[in-house]
């Protein structure tokens, strides 16, 4: 069973359209939804949770349509939004009590353990916590009710590198269980590069690419050469290119390039920038 299946999902706002988005997140995997600000990442997550109404398409969460008993489905989903959403005058302790009466599977001991592990003060008001600690509290809440799927919207942005590393480690631990999956959106690609099994590139509401990360990194590379050398290559080998007076930098399919060309490995961030450039 897939944790999440999105088929032909569309939504229009004035000045923006999420255009027939389709993607599948298998169980036990982490998918990074990568896109610039305004690409449609938060819109996608809100559509998955039915917080906004789709124009067309289907969303299946943990094998169930998101319009069919979504309240029950949400028992198995942990969500962290960009703004977290916990009221300013609540403490972590009070949040725990509220969630105990919210989720059937809420585990006080697990929550207490997360608070301790992430050094979250229990009696400090939410408004007095740092941005990083607020986000950590959101993550602790999302992970303390035995969720099978985590939906994280920009959950790592604004965190300092130390906290980010802690969070990335926690999320990796979470998916050791094969029934656990994560969809995480971010515009900070380096966070997702470490964490994800799958990456999906979203640009101006369109899905440019959705693929296994390792396969992408194996399949593509960067070729530094002259414009003349590039012309020698088969057109199918070149996906995108950047030309400058000093030469050409091209995103190429490794297997379509002859051995006498030297190809450098590519990172996800560079790959994203090349793919976006290809669209432009």
């Amino acid at each position: 069973m897939n944790a999440l299946e999105i088929k032909q999902l569309s939504k229009s706002f004035p000045g923006f359209q999420l255009d027939h988005l389709s993607l599948t997140l298998p169980n036990g995997c982490i998918m990074g939804l990568i896109g610039e600000n305004g690409a449609g990442k938060s819109t996608t997550i809100k559509l998955i949770l039915n917080l906004i109404h789709k124009d067309s398409g289907t969303v299946t969460i943990l094998g169930r349509d998101n319009e069919d008993h979504l309240t029950l489905t949400k028992e198995n989903v942990g969500v962290v939004m960009d703004d977290v959403g916990i009221p300013d005058y609540l403490t972590a302790k009070q949040v725990g009590k509220i969630m105990r009466h919210t989720f059937h599977n809420w585990q006080d001991d697990v929550y207490a353990e997360y608070l301790k592990k992430l050094s979250i003060p229990t009696d400090k008001l939410f408004k007095n916590l740092s941005r990083g600690t607020k986000m950590k509290l959101g993550i602790a809440v999302a992970m303390s009710h035995q969720p099978k799927l985590l939906l994280l919207d920009e959950a790592t942005s604004g965190l300092d590198p130390v906290v980010r590393d802690e969070v990335v480690e926690m999320l990796s631990d979470f998916t050791r269980d094969e029934t656990h999956s994560i969809l995480i959106s971010s515009h900070i690609v380096s966070d997702l590069e470490k964490l994800c099994d799958y990456v999906a590139f979203l640009h101006k509401g369109k899905l440019l690419l959705c693929e296994e990360k390792d396969r992408l990194l194996e399949e593509y590379g960067i070729l530094h050469c002259t414009a003349e050398q590039l012309h020698e290559l088969d057109a199918d080998a070149i996906r995108s290119k950047k030309e400058s007076p000093y030469g050409v930098e091209a995103l190429v399919r490794r297997e379509a390039v002859p051995d006498n060309f030297s190809i450098s490995p590519i990172g996800i961030e560079e790959l994203f920038l090349f793919v976006v450039k290809e669209v432009r």
């Binding site: 609540l90 009070q94 059937h104």
Partner: protein, 208 residues
């Protein structure tokens, strides 16, 4: 829904502490004279707005979006504001009712009929604000909803003045007051239920 009630209870304790002080001050002032009905009724009107304030704080902290990700239906998210409103109003009505009973007894003017009329006025005052404002706020959000609420209240007051003018010419004000009040009470309770239902309908269509 216990979690939502608990959250709004914490929020009320934190944000609305000053309301309790106001209730005590206003009730104390209402003891000062025979015709201080405004001071006796004001706590009911003021506390009727607590669900609206809670909704406004929810929107400011983005709880409205976050709560949509929790295992609650939209009907439950709406209902909690009406329920917390009823609980708070019940407490304020009991306090106001007790205070007025004591005041009337001390003045030697206590009569069950008069006291019930007073309580009916308080009930109408208490429920009017949430009844008229909450559906607008659940449909349009707090800011736009507030504007719509003021327009609706303006229209309502204008209609009441016209009706009072027309009915007042036909009968004495006392007769109108006594005759209309029980009907008004029932009408406000029915409107509160209708408002609740409409808010659920509106919120189900609203995008967060």
């Amino acid at each position: 829904m216990k979690g939502l009630l608990l959250k709004d209870f914490y929020m009320t304790l934190k944000y609305c502490r000053s309301f309790l002080l106001l209730v005590i001050v206003f009730l104390a002032v209402s003891f000062a004279g025979e015709n201080n009905l405004f001071f006796a009724a004001y706590p009911c009107i003021f506390c009727g707005m607590i669900p609206v304030f809670l909704l406004s704080y929810d929107e400011r902290s983005k709880w409205d979006v976050y709560s949509g990700t929790l295992p609650y239906s939209k009907a439950q998210l709406v209902s909690v504001k009406y329920l917390i409103g009823l609980c708070i109003e019940a407490i304020v009505l009991v306090l106001s009712g007790a205070a007025q009973a004591v005041r009337m007894s001390m003045a030697g003017t206590f009569a069950v009929g008069d006291w019930l009329i007073l309580m009916s006025v308080f009930l109408v005052m208490a429920l009017l604000a949430p009844t008229t404002s909450l559906p607008f706020m659940f449909q349009l959000g707090v800011e736009k909803g507030r504007v719509a609420y003021y327009v609706a209240m303006g229209t309502l007051c204008a209609t009441a003045f016209i009706l009072q003018d027309v009915l007042g010419k036909a009968q004495s004000p006392q007769t109108v007051f006594h005759g209309v009040l029980p009907i008004l009470c029932l009408a406000v309770i029915a409107l509160y239920a209708l408002s609740w239902y409409l808010s659920i309908l509106f919120y189900q269509k609203r995008e967060l």
